[in-house]
């Protein structure tokens, strides 16, 4: 088959379909990964002994265990315990845990870098501990954590390809199917790679813009 024709008729439509699934996975997982990351970081930094320990153990487990193994546990393992997820939900849970664990490390670092005085001043005004964290410490910490969170978002884009191992036909999977069927491995995976590079580059540029937009003089610590 003519290369151009193959591209236009087969490859691009298939990859676009896969891309939609990839984007769905990322968009569905990222907000929860961020939110859970904040919770884990706050729990570890400000929680009681037990909370802090549990958060730390969770992060250590997720960081130590390969994501693919985690996905297998969620999809193939949990049904034996009577818990079954669809491939998409299993993948999403895995991505959220992974994203959250790494995010929490950056956010925790940023929380610790906020000077003690901020918390003291907030409490001196009569704010509760939770209010002080939520209104004063977190907004400063999150700004500083943007580069790290961006980094993790890029990892999420790339890790989303592992969903294919749970039979989800996302971008990489769509590529694999087309490549196998038409025996066009080089073109297909180059194209797939190019799409990932575009996604990564868009992320980097938008994150820079966001960071500039929310920047406050003197608080970025850079």
């Amino acid at each position: 088959m003519d290369t151009m024709l193959f591209m236009a008729d087969v490859l691009v439509p298939a990859l676009l379909q896969g891309l939609v699934i990839t984007l769905e996975l990322i968009v569905a997982a990222a907000p929860f990964g961020f939110a859970l990351g904040v919770v884990l970081a706050v729990g570890r930094t400000y929680g009681g002994r037990l909370t802090s320990y549990l958060c730390r153990a969770f992060v250590a487990f997720i960081k130590g265990c390969p994501l693919l193994l985690l996905l297998f546990m969620l999809y193939f393992g949990l049904p034996s315990a009577g818990i079954s997820f669809s491939p998409f939900v299993a993948a999403m849970i895995g991505f959220i845990c992974c994203n959250a664990a790494y995010n929490s490390e950056y956010i925790r670092g940023a929380l610790l870098s906020v000077k003690d005085g901020q918390m003291i001043a907030a409490q001196a005004l009569g704010m509760t501990r939770l209010q002080s964290i939520w209104l004063i410490v977190l907004p400063q910490a999150l700004r500083r954590a943007i580069p790290g969170i961006t980094n993790e978002f890029i990892y999420l884009i790339k890790y989303s390809s592992l969903a294919y191992m749970l039979t989800i036909i996302e971008l990489s999977g769509a590529g694999k199917i087309v490549a196998t069927k038409y025996f066009t491995y080089n073109e297909t995976f180059m194209m797939v790679g190019a799409i990932y590079l575009v996604l990564v580059t868009i992320t980097t540029v938008s994150a820079d813009m966001i960071e500039k937009k929310v920047a406050v003089p003197g608080t970025t610590g850079r």
């Binding site: 005085g117 901020q118 001043a121 907030a122 005004l125 009569g126 400063q140 406050v216 003197g218 608080t219």
Partner: protein
């Protein structure tokens, strides 16, 4: 004398860190409109004392009352008492991610539940009081130390506190910036604001205080009006201490 006369009562506050006794049974009472100034060598617990009053540091023992209500052991009501005791810190501790006016209004909105519009109006009014109205939209990093400290005073005043606690408000400032901040505090004293001030500014202490408390080794060693302390031979330690500072000032 009746208890009710006192707006703030501090009774037998003790605090140690490990083996080091920082506060050794400190007691005093404050009437409405009083300006009490704490002086003394560094490390004698003056700042810790202020923080024990609003429980930012929890004392080992002793009690504090504000308007007849116990502040110590007050559980979550401590947040109410802290609103009533405005605190100004040596290093300002302005919220770095908020503009001057947001710094002043945030607790009004989030702690007092004041509507945003009203809070903004009040915040601007407080900023005007300290001469910082024109800087309302600037971030802390864009302010000089003196300006930042004035904003932090406005932030504390906005809560309509019964007592103001000043913890070495000018120690982090250059001399000329010190003056602008002391001016603001003097005006507050003149307007009858009740305040406790920890400071090393002896000129300010002797001119504004109606009582000076000289602390040494975690205790109030001597206390009295500026006139008494400077003239009465019984208060030799305070006089010596102030004298040292005066000489030091001259040498500078």
């Amino acid at each position: 004398m009746h208890d009710d006369e006192y707006i703030l009562k501090v009774e037998n506050i003790r605090k140690s860190y490990g083996q080091t006794v920082v506060l050794d049974s400190v007691s005093f009472n404050v009437r409405k409109g009083d300006t009490k100034v704490f002086i003394g060598p560094s490390g004698t617990g003056k700042s810790t004392l202020l923080r024990c009053i609003n429980q930012l540091t929890v004392p080992d023992s002793g009690r504090v009352w504000l308007n007849g209500e116990e502040v110590t052991h007050s559980g979550s009501r401590i947040n109410y008492f802290r609103q009533k005791m405005g605190m100004v810190f040596q290093n300002f501790y302005l919220f770095d991610h908020l503009t001057a006016v947001r710094n002043v209004e945030i607790a009004l909105i989030k702690v007092k539940g004041m509507p945003a519009k009203e809070a903004r109006k009040k915040a601007l009014l407080e900023l005007r009081q300290v001469g910082m109205e024109d800087w309302a939209d600037h971030y802390p990093a864009e302010l000089s130390g003196g300006q930042a400290q004035r904003v932090s005073i406005a932030r504390a005043l906005a809560m309509d506190p019964d007592v103001m606690l000043f913890d070495e408000p000018t120690s982090a400032l250059d001399p000329e910036l010190t003056r602008e901040v002391l001016e603001v505090i003097k005006n507050l004293a003149r307007d009858g604001t009740t305040m406790l001030v920890v400071t090393h500014e002896m000129g300010f202490a002797t001119s504004v205080a109606n009582e000076i408390l000289f602390m040494e080794g975690g205790r109030i060693a001597e206390q009295g009006s500026p006139q008494e302390l400077l003239s009465d031979p019984r208060f030799s330690r305070t006089k010596n201490f102030i004298g040292q500072f005066r000489e030091f000032d001259r040498e500078m």
